[in-house]
Symmetry: C2
Subunit: 355 residues, 2 copies
């Protein structure tokens, strides 16, 4: 098996520990003689997995009392609808910081009036700032990391109204003051596990304030009350997620992750900023630690395919930028080792020396 440097934006690199432990459990789950894929979710062994995932998630993010953590299917895209379904009575305020944020807005409009601020004017190269949060809105919705554009809001903002955040692509990459949020959600397939499971951190007292009837599966209360076991959960995906949480704890938790992520990003941003042919696309003050976007300068644009090919020959995969930005995107999630970033920087320098 070839050794590959995995820069995919998601699903994306996971710790070797997660992969190995999941394989072991698919062979024989918790000594039951039954595969993790074939074991009842009502067995005491699987129930222990779900409970540990919830507990460890709370521990790692230092989640205060009064919050629940649930694991559901359907991805963040389903949350785009569930958030307004459960929380929007009349009006909500959305910060449009990219395509994913604007998809969330599209769904919310089905349920009420939406006020918003946007950075679309500069193709989302920055995170909107300095806006006033309307006090008559039921909540404000932000997207903390914008995978496509490589921008990130790394600060927990203060909001006078309930703060809802899509943290799909930067959850557990840094400490977060959860007490500032009413709800945080995200797909697992960046920093947590395989695609198929979605986490939601919910401040319990925000629920029960809309009058519309909620289908059970779209009602956060259902999952909170049933400990994510109202229906059959995505067992393999939850198990893999738990392994990543264990790995993260063993590495030193979110503070250590933040330190490593800053270091990795610094190496790559320095290389970009010192390059004669590459240039970053995001405004510097909003640069993401998770997705680092860069393009070839105008006069070198014709070499784009060449660089991707060159990188692939060096086993650097997943570097193609999203079509709406073009160029390249290196996703540097928690599990990506520094060695992969160095391999990329070396390849960039070598490519530059040849052109």
């Amino acid at each position: 098996m070839k050794k590959v440097h995995n820069f995919y934006a998601g699903p994306s690199i996971l710790p070797e520990f997660t992969i190995e432990e999941t394989i072991k459990a698919i062979k024989d789950f918790a000594g039951t003689g039954v595969s993790l894929m074939s074991v009842s979710h009502r067995s005491k062994e699987f129930d222990a997995v779900m409970r540990e995932a919830e507990t460890l998630f709370k521990e790692l993010l230092n989640i205060p009392e009064g919050y629940s953590v649930i694991f559901v299917g359907g991805g963040a895209s389903t949350q785009f609808a569930m958030v307004p379904y459960n929380l929007l009575n009349k009006k909500a305020f959305y910060v449009d910081s990219g395509v994913w944020a604007s998809k969330a807005i599209k769904e919310a409009k089905i349920f009420g009036e939406i006020a918003m601020v946007s950075s679309k004017d500069k193709n989302y190269a920055y995170v909107p700032k300095g806006y006033e949060i309307p006090l008559d809105a039921d909540y404000i919705h932000i997207t903390t990391n914008n995978t496509i554009y490589g921008t990130e809001l790394r600060k927990d903002i203060n909001s006078p109204i309930p703060l809802v955040a899509d943290m799909s692509s930067d959850i557990l990459s840094r400490p977060v003051d959860v007490s500032k949020y009413a709800l945080i959600y995200g797909g697992a397939q960046k920093n947590l596990g395989p695609a198929g499971v979605t986490f939601v951190i919910i401040k319990k007292d925000i629920l029960g304030k809309v009058s519309r009837p909620l289908p059970s599966m779209l009602n956060y209360a259902t999952h909170v009350e049933n400990g994510s076991m109202y229906n059959t959960p995505p067992c393999v995906d939850v198990y893999a997620l738990l392994q990543t949480l264990k790995w993260l704890k063993a590495q030193g938790g979110v503070k250590e992750m933040e330190k490593r992520n800053i270091e990795k990003a610094q190496i790559l941003y320095d290389a970009i900023d010192n390059s004669k042919i590459f240039v970053g696309t995001a405004q510097k003050e909003d640069r993401s630690l998770m997705n680092i976007c860069f393009v070839l300068k105008e006069e070198y644009k014709s070499f784009e395919e060449d660089f991707l090919k060159f990188a692939k020959e060096k086993n650097l995969v997943g570097l193609k930028g999203h079509r709406s930005v073009g160029g390249f995107r290196a996703s540097t999630y928690n599990a990506l080792p520094k060695e992969s970033v160095i391999a990329l920087v070396d390849a960039m320098k070598e490519f530059e020396s040849k052109h």
Copy 2:
């Protein structure tokens, strides 16, 4: 690793082939050097998995033109809401053949008027029959197999209005005349794969007939138009499902499955009917080939725990009946080998000889 006979109702036994192939792909997916858990769903290798799953599913069930097969997250429980969300204008007709059917009814009531027929009067020990389908209903909803009670409707009924079926627990266990159905759905975790992926077979011309605005993820059209790739699909679960489809084809398809399932069920029902201490709970004409429910006769009831313990010592797991029926339930899905049924029958006879 001990050898276990797995009678779980779901998640449940899967072919060894599915388990082995999934493990291989989690180690190194399609020779990419990247784990199946860490590969982009937009990679050509994963796209090929999704397309093959769709094609093979259609082939195995002999699905006619005009139908789509999609794979989504959220389980059958989410379908309980999606069906009426997408199809119910004024009124729908539901056949209440068990707890799962009645959960589907609960969700449908949010979206319109529900007419129904039920077998709750006898604790769902039979499948309702001989009812008239109201012509003014938008659709009729049935549950073909009732896991908790061990009843099954093994015949494709004729309906003058669109026929919707939850086939979570008997899909691909027998040939189905899909042309008689408008929509068939089910969680994968019985005959198909791990929990986390849900299949939906949709006759395309039934869509677009409701006027309410549909959130994207809850709109069947979204998934049909995007080939189940509107958002990140549950990749590992879809991959495992595909392996089961491949296994099923290699075994001879649904006709062969039906033959084996009839044979396995016959062995166990014969043992029950010839037993002095055990008795079946479902009415004979509605007995399921997938879930075989039985209890101890009144005078032996006190030995219930003893039998479960005795069975466990013989590595027969997952036999505890659902609390609403009690006793025992042997789930005999496609992947359960005849040897496991024989092992159970032997244990029943041995237990009987001792009591």
